[in-house]
Amino acid sequence: MAAAGKMSLASGAPAQRDVIVLRLLVALVIFGAWEAVSRSGLFYGEVIPSLTRIWTSLIKLLGDGVFYRNLQVTTFETVVALAIGAGCGIAVGIGLGANRFLMRAFEPYVYYLSPTPRIILFPVMIMWFGVGPSSKIALGALSAFFAIALSTAAGMRQIDPVLIRVGRSFRASLWQMTLKIYLPAMRVPILNGLRLGMGTAIITVLLGETKLSNQGLGYMIMQVYTRFDMPGLYALLIVVFLLAGAVNALIGHFARDGA
């Protein structure tokens, strides 16, 4: 590894200052290129709006009460979806991780279904739960479920057997084992599963809102797209990407703290 490091890190690790300078330079080049393309007339002005117009839209968006009402709806749908997905995912994950028979019987289905495109299940969710928030919540819960169940099952198998034997020697019930042994010992894999689950839940809830909804940030994205308000669309996407990134980083931070 050290030699490999020498191959790439010929003069040692780069200084933090150099890294920051390079990042600023890259950002400057990207923004400069964007502005140049915007002013060049190569594209219709609305397609690549100037940075100042995007910034103005961003400020306008953040000062608009409608944005916060829609954010509230999306947050509610995502949180409920995650709660349901996490509840089911952790329960199934513990079952699959604790029991070898169940693992062999059912884990392949969970594992191989996990990377399928979940948004295609949206028509089914609409039929089952209607066109309101319930269908988005159900789709989000389903998305979160797979990541959390698999992560929990993997975490369950990594629990120190001594801890399990201690619990059993105290004749702990299944409930006590779950609360006192399994869950505390699996904090990191569960948080990692929650991080992944939260990411997929946010995406599917928002996609569901773009497809069929009259509220939420996904709906707002379709509204600005329909109005061809491109600065508004860029501003909204920036905010959504930043929010998704921040939530992801926050849960990742908790997971690292627990490690």
Partner: protein, 258 residues
């Protein structure tokens, strides 16, 4: 070993058989619930109707043609991601400064809900397969770059020392030592990337009602052809699972030790 008869098929595959039978039992329970009217057949069609709808969907809806459309988009986006991601990963491995500066950004790109930006891509590239391919490509790029860097960085030092002792040039070192050694990890990146690409492509096809399998599900759902919709979804799920299994098999073939 030879004198003892091995465990019977049932003993060896009991759990798997139980899993498959449970699935079958669930299907039969649904059939009974729908036929008895307990579950509304306009919400969940009887599973037997879904099975029968497969033939109709395959013949009348040109499912193979749609599969080909999705596969072509998938191949173009997937290989473009590999073609662009591998050199970028190699460059980042070579330059520690660029690597440290960009790795976090690329990680953020991998986690970003890119598929949500489909209205933006529609404006930029029009309502055409180009939009779907570009979105698949963008979503599939980050895992390859990250795994390429990881794979090259995890080359065993002894291999690098052998290369140095043979006075290999930088290019020889890359093609004869680093790249072959990193190949299994790179393939993990390709598997992740192509899974992202598939999810994005089918998802965007469904959302913008264009292209192959995703559009098929949207059309069937809009026609309220329930057995057809369920059959279409089952077909897409089967294709995704098959695709994932093949990639996984190739990956484990490349990493026999793991």
């Amino acid at each position: 070993m030879a004198e003892k008869s091995g465990p019977s098929f049932l003993r060896r595959n009991g759990p798997e058989l139980f899993g498959a039978l449970s699935l079958l039992a669930a299907v039969l329970v649904f059939e009974a619930l729908v036929r008895s009217g307990i579950v509304n057949r306009f919400v969940i069609p009887p599973p037997s109707d879904i099975v029968l709808a497969f033939e109709r969907v395959i013949v009348e809806e040109n499912i193979l043609g749609r599969f080909r459309d999705t596969a072509v988009e998938m191949v173009i986006a997937g290989f473009a991601a590999v073609g662009v991601g591998v050199p970028i990963g190699a460059f980042l491995y070579r330059s520690a400064l660029w690597r440290r500066a960009m790795e976090d950004w690329i990680g953020a790109l991998a986690a970003a809900p890119i598929v949500l930006a489909f209205p933006l891509f529609l404006v930029l590239f029009g309502r055409s397969p180009k939009t779907i391919i570009v979105m698949g490509f963008v979503h599939g790029l980050a895992p390859i770059i990250l795994k390429m860097v990881e794979g090259l960085a995890s080359t065993r030092p002894v291999l690098i020392n052998v290369g140095r002792s043979l006075k290999m040039t930088s290019s020889q070192m890359f093609w004869k030592i680093l790249f072959p050694s990193a190949l299994p990890v790179i393939f993990t990146g390709i598997r992740l990337s192509w899974t992202f690409v598939l999810i994005t492509i089918v998802g965007v096809e469904y959302l913008i009602n264009l292209g192959g399998l995703g559009q098929l599900i949207n059309e069937l759902a809009e026609r309220y052809d329930l057995p057809g919709t369920y059959a279409g979804i089952c077909f897409v799920v089967l294709v995704s699972v098959l695709f994932f299994v093949i990639l996984e098999r190739v990956e484990s073939w490349l990493q026999p030790g793991r």
